[in-house]
């Protein structure tokens, strides 16, 4: 697998926001890649930068203060960062498409479902006018909407949350993209509907043969969907490995603590593990040292001094923690 060429390769990405004349980095030094037909999950708590990272890839950052300051986003070997709006428009929705968390705000309430679906096809395909509506209806059928020929003429408010998310998925796959970015696609939905949508996404992903970058805060969804996982904390990647190793051999203290703090159905534990404190806000980020140091159960004095780097501890398993840093004398001893 690892010899296969990456479809998307994010390198060294820094995304900053300018607030009152100062730049704050919501994404700081993020690198990972997505291979063709692979599902990569990005997991982290609110404020960890996972959404900003996905908006950076799509070039959808707020124009007035958000900016990619450094780094490369290579899609099939081509850097997307320097592209103009026009060039990006050719890629967005066609080669890379995105579904959002809240399907009500992502759909235009005053345009019919059909109009919004047609628009994607008009912009990105050469289909003839009379074919377009037929294609829209078949897309709706593909995402499991039973009365597709009626739904095309309806408006978003007439549909339930699950149905709206299905429409969003139909729009996203209209041009058979190679990469789908799904930003918390099931967070606003109930569990039984979430199960429907996750199953649909998996089915479609196999049918279309696309890769997926799935952004979520739910470790259950990660376990269910992911081939590989990127764990983010405070704008940085702290751990990056395959799903099995993440759940069975996590390395970073944050990942370990996060896995221990979720209640599980199949066990009886009186007290849950907690992570003390809260995620530091963008403005209060420590200037140097590890960003997790204040909350870390295995913190050492030097953690506040040295900026840990993301490094491979074994093939396909990278961690950002000086406990695993080979150049650090106390490494392995401390771990055990």
């Amino acid at each position: 697998m690892s010899t296969q060429e990456s479809l998307l390769k994010v390198q060294n990405l820094h995304t900053g926001f300018e607030i009152e004349g100062k730049t704050y980095y919501a994404v700081k030094d993020v690198s990972f890649d997505v291979k063709p037909k692979e599902v990569v999950c990005v997991v982290g708590e609110s404020g960890c930068g996972k959404s900003v990272m996905s908006l950076s890839i799509m070039d959808l950052l707020p124009k007035h203060n958000g900016k990619i300051a450094q780094g490369e986003i290579l899609f099939k070997g081509k850097d997307l960062v320097p592209l103009s709006d026009n060039e990006m428009n050719q890629i967005r929705g066609k080669d890379i498409s995105m579904i959002f968390q809240e399907p009500m705000t992502a759909l235009n309430p005053v345009l019919s479902i059909g109009f919004q679906l047609d628009e994607v096809l008009i912009n990105h395909t050469t289909s003839k006018n009379e074919e377009i509506r037929r294609k829209s209806i078949s897309l709706l059928q593909q995402v499991g909407i039973s009365r597709a020929d009626q739904v095309v003429n309806e408006y978003p408010h007439q549909l339930s949350g699950g149905m709206r998310q299905r429409v969003m998925i139909a729009m996203a796959i209209a041009c058979q993209p190679q990469l789908l970015i799904a930003d918390e696609p099931t967070t606003a939905l109930d569990v039984t509907v979430q199960a429907q949508i996750l199953e649909l996404i998996t089915k479609i992903q196999e049918e279309v043969g696309m890769a997926m970058l799935l952004i979520t805060h739910d470790l259950g969804v990660v376990a269910e969907m992911a081939d590989r996982v990127v764990v983010m904390y405070a704008g940085q990647v702290v751990e990056y490995t395959d799903a099995d190793r993440l759940f069975y051999a996590p390395k970073h203290p944050y990942t370990k603590a996060l896995l221990d703090s979720i209640p599980r159905m199949d066990e009886t534990r009186e007290v849950l593990n907690t992570i003390k404190g809260i995620v530091p806000s963008l403005k209060n980020m420590p200037a140097k040292g590890c960003r997790f140091v204040d909350r870390c159960p295995s913190a050492m004095p030097e953690c506040a001094e040295i900026d840990p780097q993301l490094g491979e501890v074994e093939k396909g398993h990278a961690v950002r923690c000086i406990l695993y840093d080979a150049s650090h004398p106390e490494k392995e001893a401390e771990v055990k």
């Binding site: 979430q194 199953e199 376990a223 099995d244 979720i262």
Partner: protein, 328 residues
């Protein structure tokens, strides 16, 4: 006095509770229908236990919680608190009752007054009920704040200075101030991140033991409810479909809806991908619920008679009640 026996064991009893919201329409705003938010639930809470009420959005769990605390007036049914009928209490009697029943709300951003100091928020219930002199009041509030894990200077701060988890702690301190017997917690952690969620869950558990509280814990997340509760009631479309021990409901769910709900929860274990039971369709509107069993249009095990006959909650095992025709 049949109620005496009841009084000792059960803190709260709810019998055939209904809460309908009127739907008005037309020029004269006449009532044209009802939203049957809670349609016949019966349950009882033992002293000191945590009863979890779980269900998807729109199933009526929040309405049930608020009707039980008498924030809403029930449409029908009876509520007994410590053996006393509180269904139609009014005025000063209702006001007195509120000392014993307190609530913790879901949204820690909306349930705290942004213009009040945290100290005032937490001391308000005490002042309201004339508890404690002014000098003692502050000391008591400080104790409460430190008990829920907030720093002392929190007293002089405002809600916006706190994170979501800390605000939820303020809400919990306010609910505890009057030393209530029952706390209804309506989705207390669903707005919080996992690492903070576990802090608040642990705190609630500690406080429950320390203050000997009875807790009605309302949430949509079955793993959280199972972690917190001694017994669990599963709601669907205004009806209680299954009530059992927390362990039982997970190990041996009886109702097809409970089975689907449990199977739908993604487990954080990639080697054990759950065999999901995928329900078709969406929850029907409570304004126009299906005839017979409310779950039959989506039920994978539906039989022809399910659309005619409404099942009743009945005991299938010891302390395990289900409302499903499969078990009748």
């Amino acid at each position: 006095m049949a109620n005496d026996a009841v009084k000792s064991e059960h803190l709260l009893q709810v019998q055939e509770l209904k809460k309908y919201y009127p739907v008005r329409g037309g020029f004269l705003r006449r009532k044209v229908g009802d939203v049957k938010a809670v349609d016949n639930i019966s349950l009882e809470l033992k002293r000191g236990e945590t009863f979890g009420l779980v269900g998807e959005s729109g199933c009526g769990k929040s309405t049930a919680g608020r009707t039980i605390t008498r924030l809403f007036k029930p449409t029908a049914g009876k509520i007994f608190f410590e053996g006393r009928d509180i269904t139609s209490l009014r005025g000063s009697e209702l006001r007195d009752l509120r000392q014993d029943i307190q609530m913790v709300f879901q949204d820690p951003f909306a349930s705290l007054n942004p213009k009040m100091m945290v100290g005032s928020i937490v001391s308000e219930p005490l002042i309201n009920y004339g508890k404690g002199s002014e000098s003692k009041l502050k000391e008591e509030v400080m104790n409460l704040l430190s008990r829920v894990g907030l720093p002392e200077d929190a007293y002089y701060k405002y809600p916006h200075e706190f994170s979501g988890g800390q605000r939820q702690r303020i809400g919990i301190a306010r609910a505890l101030a009057l030393k209530p017997k029952l706390i209804v917690a309506d989705e207390p952690v669903s707005a919080l991140d996992v690492s903070v969620q576990s802090q608040v869950l642990n705190l609630l558990k500690e406080l429950q033991q320390e203050f000997n509280l009875t807790l009605l814990f309302i949430a949509h997340d079955l793993s959280v409810v199972k972690h917190m509760s001694d017994r669990i009631g599963v709601m669907y479309l205004g009806n209680l479909v299954e009530v059992a021990d927390a362990q039982d409901i997970y190990a041996d769910p009886k109702h097809p809806y409970t089975q689907a709900l449990i199977s739908a929860i993604p487990q954080p274990d990639p080697r054990n991908k759950s065999k999901r039971i995928i329900l078709s369709g969406d929850v029907p509107s409570p304004q126009n619920p299906p005839t017979g069993c409310p779950f039959h249009p989506r039920c994978p095990k539906a039989m022809p008679e399910c659309s005619d006959k409404k099942p009743q909650l009945r005991e299938v095992n010891r302390d395990h009640r289900v409302s499903c025709l499969l078990y009748e």
